[in-house]
Symmetry: C2
Subunit: 309 residues, 2 copies
């Protein structure tokens, strides 16, 4: 049975770029929201909106009906859920815990099982749609876990996103997000190579964009990142370091399943190089720097050599 | 000055899947249309619509104000334009000739120059949008050549497409089309790998499509070819053999410009394999067969090995 918003306390752990907007949308939807995040200053806008601060993960977990986490890396997820003073050690039996971080499918299954042993219902529910989607409550949410637990917390998720799809048992949400990132990875290479080719051929790349973004080459990446690449605007919407994390998870999972993903391998090699030359904290459109004109000084890496080493 | 449709005779050479619909749309727009194609039976629907048959390229060229060509390969373009009884040997000074085949930028420049020497105005104007776009006169048309020649034939092109963009001097249309194909090539790898991963992970790939096709992974290829891949429908919209031709042209042009395109190289290697195992005459969504489940009999190629040989 779905939870009643007016009687549901939602704990929110991790108020970074994404979590901040999400927690605020929960307050806006009428939930009582308890917040903890590692760097307290980052919680300020959420507290201003009406959320309450708690000094520790355990405090949030103890008082909440639903605990949502939106942290950085799988290691953070593991610590926050399975640590000595983590969520599973503190949440009440009957509580729902929802990890919305992009993390490992295998870790999602481990959390699900440990939670089940304590009567806690765990879901993995990573999102797509970026900071703008988070702000406007238009995230795509991919959910794994028990379907009745999903139905119970659905109203909470509906305060955060639009395209909310139950994908299957524990880990299925994370696997779906991996499929999403896999499609994006090779797509970004195509966008960079198309624009680099256009520029090198002496075309006006803005006009080329106008020709190709409405036809069979159309993609969200081309329309959203193409203009930023051409402007040289590499400010992060989505961090290179986080995309590298995701690609690492996907490649590890693919290897466990004995699945070859040469496109994703190529993307990881190229993004590794992007991070190495100083763009780890920039946006994923920074991939384009690998094709920057180098004024003949041979500073640009030889991409073909790079991918064969 | 734009040509007057009611006084303009348009010659059309090449009435295959694309050309057939395009020639018909010209008849529908009120042009007198003269047709020649290598396999006369393929012209039947265009003749029924009201076009007139001519027995040779030279006959079409001699009588037309504008000659449009939509043939298969650069070798066909070369023959049709530069052959002894080709278009440039027969067209009237002052005529416009428009090659809408996807072909080599360098060949487009050669045709432009030979045409100019005879007072003939040549444009390269390849299209994107497939058989459906051709039928519905919604093609994206990328034009190279002299801008005044483009303005003169613009009404003719407007009978064929919607997004019509002048890209620059001779060859610029073909280069733009190459940029388009480059973006698609890597994008198709991403689509295949995402769906293959979803299936191997035990997810319902149709549900995964539902989750990912609206977010940052959204693309024309994912939404149009994803469902066909999952249904195992490999019937051609766009032929593998033609895509291989395009990738070959783009890689040759990139090499001339000293530009590395590792994503496109990977795509070409994978599509070469697809053609080798019998899918050259199938649609580009056939790329997905490389990730087909092989029921453990080891028939599927090792993709990682494949791309390193």
């Amino acid at each position: 049975m779905p939870l009643d918003p007016s009687r549901t306390v939602v704990g929110f752990i991790g108020t970074g770029v994404m979590g901040r907007s999400m927690a605020r949308n929960l307050v806006g939807a009428g939930y009582r929201v308890l917040v903890y995040t590692r760097t307290p200053a980052k919680a300020a806008p959420v507290l201003e909106a009406g959320a309450e601060w708690r000094d520790a993960v355990a405090d949030v977990a103890r008082e909440s009906d639903v605990v949502i986490t939106m942290v950085g890396y799988p290691a953070d997820v593991e610590e926050v859920y399975l640590g000595e003073r983590g969520i599973l050690a503190s949440a009440r039996p009957g509580a729902y815990v929802v990890d919305m971080t992009t993390s490992k499918p295998s870790l999602a299954r481990r959390i699900y099982e440990e939670a089940a042993g304590k009567g806690i219902r765990a879901l993995d529910a990573p999102v797509s749609g970026g900071d703008v989607g988070a702000r406007e409550a238009r995230l795509s949410i991919m959910v794994g876990g028990d379907e009745d637990a999903f139905e119970a917390v659905r109203p909470v998720l509906e305060a955060l996103g639009k395209n909310i799809v139950y994908q299957g048992p524990a880990g299925a949400g994370q696997h779906t997000k991996m499929a999403n990132q896999i499609a994006i990875a090779s797509g970004m290479i195509g966008v960079c190579e198309a624009l680099a080719y256009a520029r090198r051929a002496g075309l006006d790349p803005w006009r080329v964009l106008q020709s190709i973004e409405t036809g069979a080459a159309a993609s969200w990446s081309l329309s959203n990142y193409g203009p930023r690449m051409l402007r040289g605007d590499f400010e992060p919407g989505f961090y290179v370091k986080h995309f590298l994390k995701d690609m690492g998870i996907a490649l590890e999972a693919a290897e466990e399943m004995d699945l070859d993903l040469p496109g994703l391998e190529l993307a990881r090699m190229l993004y590794d190089e992007v991070a190495e030359i100083g763009f780890a904290e920039k946006g994923t459109q920074s991939l384009f720097v690998l094709w920057e004109e180098d004024e003949g000084d041979d500073a640009a890496p030889d991409l073909v050599q790079l991918t064969r080493r």
